[in-house]
Amino acid sequence: MEPSKMNESTTAKEKSTSAHVADSIATRLAAGEMTASFIEKRKKPRTRQKLPTPARVPTLGDYEPLVSKAEVDEIRFLAEGLHRKSVKIVSAPDLESNAAEMLNRLVPLLGELEVAAQWDRLAQTEESRNVAKQLKRSLASNDSWVTKELQEFCSHGQDDNLGRLRFDEDVVVLQDLETLGLIRAKETRDQRWVWRCHLDLSRPSAETWKILKPFVEAHDAAIFSTQSFACRGSIPAYLFYPCIDPLLERNKQLEPSVIQQVCEEFGIDRSRAIVTQVSPFDRARDPLGVIDAYRIAKKYVDCQLVLAGSTSEDDPDSSVVLSPIKEAAAGDSDIILAILQPDSDTKVNAIQSASTIIVQKSVYEGFGTTVTEALWKGKPVIGSAVGGIPNQIIHKFTGALVHSVEGCAYQIRYLLTHPGLAEQLGKNGREHVKENFLVTSEVKRWLLLFHILLRVAQN
């Protein structure tokens, strides 16, 4: 739709909405349902005067100043042999946010490179969503969870989607557990089917794996986020690190005034050292352990601690976790709790950018893209050796890996008293991200995989 037409139709819709609200107020006022102050507010409903301009989708050229012309040229070159190839990516509708962000970038970038890419989302019932959730929980805890629902989910859970979707492309990429049942559509020998798994599948229970295995192994290849997440199977497993987009609001370079403004909002003193952990307030990220580490370090070095994050909707006990954090922080004005709304990307970026050291003291972690984001900002990062963090932090080269509260406290002290080393770790960390964890690396990995799968290179 052209912008001018969009505005016209929106204005007409707004008028109609306004009239409807006035009628509704009159009816409910007569019935005595509304208070006077609320009625006043509702008389003037706030209507959006102008639709926000949609963000322009970045092109490869936009990444060139960040990753070098040689890198972008190499990506263009890799795509040349794939110009007439096509790929379909299918994911669950509620794909985990980082994976969805990457697909939002990957699909248009592949299009720019003349590799026809299409991203379809499953139509998912509440029932199958619940089975997938339960299955993910059982895989995370290595519990055996075999039920009729699971068997039905794998065998017939995708019947509706199989009837709705077509799979004519050269490569079909299925993302995560929800899509596994679609493998039944694999027919032609020339087509390549790939399963992209974002979960830790290294130690599923034998019973659960017995059900999943035939579906996984019907693919031509599987992709995992770290070596430690890969399952032992008969198909080739590829390693695709999760990546971040340096052009997103959360990762781009901010104006100093914006950083200052956010620090003032939360009462962060930029003239003193700032130690920060950005993550949801949940047990897996051990915020109480971070406070303990800060308290040990603070005996020797002056610093503030910023715990920034949101409470997780998926975690029913996140408010239970927040209470003891507030208790532990009470009485210490140098512990700053920045409780953020989910769309606080600029604030997260500003807090990370203002920090002296960033900590990720998780006891359980996926890949840990908050670490990637911190490294990209050139910050020295102290991270627990769990999940994908050791892939990002090479101890003493791109950050510091720790295994305990005490270890974390020591590294905070050490890095605050050795700013030269801290700066070097930050520089190395940023280079590590530039080489391996940016969206450009993601595009390159897919192109290389297409070459390998389709054997274009040899033809």
């Binding site: 040689a70 050791p390 080269f397 590590h432 080489e435």
Partner: protein
Amino acid sequence: MGELLEGVRSCSGDCIFQHTFRTLQEHHFIQEGYSNDFAHWAFFACNENELAERLAAVDVREFISIEALRIRIVEVLEEYLGNFQQVRQRAAIEPFYFCSSSTVVLPTALVARNLQEFADALESISVHSLHYHFIEARLRLQLSSNDFSKWLGEEMGLKHAAELVNRIDIYTLTLQGVRHRILRIVESVLS
């Protein structure tokens, strides 16, 4: 460590390549530290400093075949575990995950017909192309040399420059540092 030794003995050649040659490429921005994954793991996951130093001293430039490189790594491990039996069964902090590489090689559009074109191309190629021609080349050429030195010596008749390029120390420089050193040698010939 005993399991590492078994793994090194039995893994594919692509695996050895990944944890030695490819590691140099993946971490090309780090100037110091352990130059292969086996040495890195021996130090950080097993706290075996001496073994880490010995494994790190295995210089990939001295090998023109992956099998010869594998034999050397096995020798270092066997010798160390022979002297320190207790290390064989001791649990590591983190497991070592054996990975292997799939290599896709494609010709780029860049061609050098003279020294100036060579310098221009060298400035614009990616670090992956640099790694392919300067470090991996010895496996392909089966020579203790690299594509750049071979071209400079055989096609341009610049034997001294070829020798200087071949002596650049990849273990004390980043790949960008290697690029600058080669450019400096070529520019000195041009001037």
